[in-house]
């Protein structure tokens, strides 16, 4: 990619967001978070601290959970982004979304999209089996309402469901 100077009309990038390929012109200083919220209207991803400390902006980039506030949009060229809008549908929620409802794992809900994206990645990563491990590996998502015990409950439910499925499959 050629160099661009400050004040240029923007740099063309190609990214896939929730399965939909897009060509977008971005300024070098745009973060992925601001691109999602301001330019694309995907406001499910939240801006909390804007410094990588709270996890409200967590999205999946090529399947990995990442703080979108610390990523420059221009560097996402060619990447696949999944936001909370892409993890389930109103008629068919992701199992972790359903578990958050059943376990009452939120109060104000502001941190919830980040919690769910982070929790989905935690489940896929496969490094957490105990509640202590879930807590440690969810340390990048802060909930100021303090719904932590219920968030751990919800994630644990899905982990148990998943292990049940795999046990049956193995039999």
């Amino acid at each position: 990619m050629s160099q661009t100077q400050p004040g240029s009309p923007g740099i063309q990038i190609q990214i896939t967001i929730n399965g939909e390929p897009r060509r977008i012109a971005v300024q070098a200083s745009n973060t992925l978070l601001d691109l999602l919220r301001h330019d694309l209207g995907l406001t499910g991803t939240k801006k909390g601290c804007d410094h990588g400390q709270c996890g409200a902006c967590t999205v999946l980039i090529d399947g990995r959970r990442i703080n979108s506030c610390l990523q420059l949009a221009v560097m996402q060229d060619g990447k696949e982004i999944t936001t909370i809008e892409g993890v389930g549908q109103a008629s068919q929620l992701h199992p972790l979304q359903q578990a958050f409802i059943e376990r009452d794992a939120f109060q104000c809900g502001y941190c919830t999209p980040g919690q769910i994206c982070s929790g989905i990645a935690l489940i896929e990563e496969g490094h957490a089996a105990t509640r202590d491990e879930i807590r440690e590996l969810m340390s990048g998502n802060i909930c100021r309402c303090g719904a932590y015990p219920n968030i751990v409950d919800a994630i644990e439910d899905v982990l148990v469901q998943r292990s049940g499925v795999s046990r049956e499959a193995a039999e």
């Binding site: 990619m1 400050p6 959970r65 703080n67 610390l70 560097m75 982070s118 202590d132 440690e136 340390s139």
Partner: protein, 341 residues
């Protein structure tokens, strides 16, 4: 954030040519520290050189001498969960998992971990003087709030600490830093990579202008410490906080005799803090009654407290003894059960 131009490097030579003679240019990879500092206007690069597309900076591979080479772009998560690293250098995996969060570890790179800046409050606050951020402006931490600051190797110009956990383990394991610059490739012993502040605290490391970190290598010999090690990190909350004091301890044990020892501290100085004399007093001793407190005294000799951080000296002494005891017993500190073993 200031306005800047962006260049995606297609080759290593291309990246180096953009850095050469352009002190306003900065390398960006994971972005977790640099973008944060740009938002605070602590860093104001004129040009960002994106090195994330350089394949030669990727991957973990075997070295000819039986060690491992970790490419500069390898994310912290990939280091922490790599099977070879866990089998041969578990101290490194533990140290990496003691730092940051899963989201940050997914983005943050090996090279970026080495080159991250201090978390001194004053460095991060452009409204206050800071010799590291603005040479000659003064140090606000000296005489200010300095609970988290250095007790070893500081100067009248700067008492900041290097914040990395990964680097403490790399120092203990005698890693080397592979860099490429306008004059070609060179390797830097880990102990020589970061520097003490002296009268130039704006320089965190010994990289020369235009040089890029391309890899970190772990020597085969360091895998002899895979059985007896611990990374003990003490901080203000149980997860996602920088170290007040951390200890990387590793022993090569032959029967019950200590054949070799490695000991490095984090959170106490401008670089990982290691003294070979502290390790040598343990060699030949039994794991049952080795002089761990003597090693601590040697490593902490000359410690200089400031108004709010004298507690760190006692904390470090006890943490060293505890960490060496954990290493001797082969019971590394759990990453999830935060009670100190």
């Amino acid at each position: 954030m200031n306005r800047f131009s962006y260049h995606r490097a297609e080759t290593l030579a291309d990246a180096i040519s953009h850095l050469r003679g352009n002190p306003a240019a900065a390398i960006i990879a994971g972005g977790t520290n640099l973008v944060d500092l740009m938002k605070y206007e602590v860093e104001r690069p004129g040009e960002l050189v994106d090195v994330t597309r350089l394949d030669e900076l990727r991957g973990i591979s075997e070295t000819p001498d039986g060690g491992l080479r970790i490419g500069a772009l390898v994310p912290n998560s990939d280091v922490a969960y790599d099977e070879r690293i866990n089998a041969r250098y578990p101290l490194l995996a533990h140290a990496v998992l003691a730092g940051a969060t899963p989201q940050l570890r997914n983005a943050a790179t090996t090279g970026g971990n080495l080159n991250q800046r201090t978390r001194c409050y004053y460095f991060n606050d452009v409204a206050t003087p800071c010799n590291k951020r603005e040479p000659g402006s003064g140090c606000s931490a000296i005489g200010g709030v300095n609970r988290i600051h250095a007790i070893l190797g500081a100067s009248d110009y700067c008492i900041a600490t290097h914040p990395s956990d990964m680097c403490v383990a790399l120092a203990a394991l005698d890693a080397e830093v592979e860099v490429v610059g306008p004059d070609g490739k060179r390797r830097i012993a880990f102990a020589d990579y970061h520097r003490l502040p002296g009268d130039e605290p704006q320089r965190d490391n010994t990289l020369r202008p235009g040089e890029i970190v391309v890899a970190v290598t772990l020597p085969r010999e360091a895998s002899a410490f895979a059985g007896n090690y611990t990374y003990l990190k003490l901080r203000d909350r149980l997860s996602y906080a920088f170290a007040l004091v951390s200890v990387a301890a590793a022993l090569k044990v032959d029967g019950r005799r200590i054949a070799a020892a490695r000991l490095a501290l984090g959170g106490v100085a401008h670089k990982p803090w290691r003294k070979l004399e502290a390790e040598e007093v343990l060699v030949g001793m039994s794991t049952d009654d080795a002089p761990f407190s003597r090693a601590a005294d040697i490593l902490l000799a000359g410690a200089q407290p400031h108004e709010h951080n004298a507690f760190k000296i006692d904390l470090a002494r006890r943490a060293i003894v505890r960490a060496l005891s954990q290493a001797a017993a082969g019971t590394p500190q759990s990453l999830t059960d935060k009670r100190i073993a």
